[in-house]
Symmetry: C2
């Protein structure tokens, strides 16, 4: 076992918790997950167009080949379609496939396909929910702390209205969009990917339980409380509203999956 040395008396600590893989696996799967995030979290909606391959590869710091492999996997899974020629590009399909996709090595040719995710442990559920609470509540509080420009206030209100007006099938995506916008308004670029990631994990859990119409109505009311608190600049109120909002789906998830 790891020995933390003798200079200080403190016993062996959490060294193992830091010595873990950084990147999930390889550049290819990493890229697939990234693109899946932008699609499933609604940052690029149905019918929307992805940046050109060369530009996108540059954004993600991967080679164009790797990016094309990832796009190919997403195309096979039915998430995107590519058209070439001028004003062509890669587009998100109108109706997204259902189910929770994850990667598996392809059976032939060296490419890969998307398959169902196997299972989820109670520990992973708890991990996700706790982390989500910390990040989202903290983001709401910080968003209400800083000054917001007129444009930002407008965008926030617009996202709230979209979320209320959207149909049930669009709800998950529009909801993610609103939460992600709040994270963006905090003004800490590092925060956005973290919340995006934890929301992806949360959505995977939510996909396993039924969607109840009454919950949507309730969520929309809470969204309004959150947005109002942020716009008024009340950090504690925003944090509390977000906490209650989070607690709702936490109870749901613990009830169905715990």
């Amino acid at each position: 076992m790891t020995d933390t040395g003798g200079t200080d008396a403190a016993g062996d600590l959490s060294a193992d918790l830091l010595l873990r893989p950084g990147k999930v696996v390889n550049a290819f799967e990493e890229t697939v997950q990234r693109l899946l995030q932008t699609i499933r979290l609604g940052l690029i909606g149905p019918g929307g167009r992805l940046p050109a391959e060369r530009e996108l590869a540059s954004m993600l710091s991967v080679s164009r080949d790797t990016l094309r492999d990832a796009i190919g996997a997403l195309a096979d899974a039915g998430y995107v379609v590519s058209r070439r020629g001028r004003y062509g590009g890669t587009f998100v399909v109108d109706e997204l496939p259902t189910g929770t996709p994850v990667m598996r090595a392809g059976s032939a040719g060296g490419s890969a396909v998307l398959v169902e995710r196997p299972a989820v442990t109670p520990a992973e559920i708890e991990d996700t929910l706790v982390l989500r609470s910390i990040l989202e509540v903290g983001a709401a509080r910080q968003a209400a702390t800083g000054e917001l420009s007129g444009i930002e206030r407008e965008r926030l209100w617009q996202a709230l209205e979209d979320c209320s007006a959207g149909s049930a099938e669009d709800y998950r995506r529009l909801d993610s969009r609103l939460h992600l916008l709040i994270a963006e308004l905090v003004g800490s670029p590092s925060l956005v990917p973290l919340i995006a990631d934890v929301r992806m994990r949360t959505n995977e859990l939510l996909d396993r339980i039924p969607l109840i119409a009454a919950n949507i109505v309730h969520s929309n009311e809470q969204h309004e409380d959150i947005v109002k608190a942020i716009l008024r600049g009340h950090p504690d109120a925003a944090a509390q509203a977000m906490e209650e909002h989070i607690a709702g789906s936490e109870a749901l998830l613990r009830g169905f999956l715990g």
Copy 2:
């Protein structure tokens, strides 16, 4: 520019904020940073021994070659020494080198060395401080929420005492250790690397400003408040104590670097 599609009216959103490189650079530099974290954050103290190369490579999900390159770079920089033979291994040196190390391509042979970090932008400072506030305050609150075992309470108290008793030169490391232990006590494995990372970033900033003895005394008093609040199970008190603690170094950093 990215078009988010026409199905919903919401304008183009933060797509760019998600489409960014995942891993910092390559496996080698990633590994160096990881090892540097465990050393500089005090998870493995001076004189401490790293896990065997084969095991460590497995932990970090990199090949043994890459790991050895990273260890070699750290050895060149004076952080570790390797001894071979039975009961040998790679050990952290007794006196850590000073300065803020970062990677640069080696001049010969394909290896690399550690050099000084160039600069830091105000935006990056703000990003780090905001993220730190969210994570550390949230962690303190959550740590005070859950039940703690006797062993955990003991470790927490021990870390607090170590921190108070440590000399000025050890303070940064022992301080990080205490904060990281709090994160560990939350029980959300995903949280620990996040706090470790934001602490590394914070420490890099703190290394640029003078260390004042009075601040250490003050910090230790605040540490005691935080730990007591956690042990007593008062989430709001723990959060507030942590917030005040954070605010201290925030003011310091903004004053010197802002």
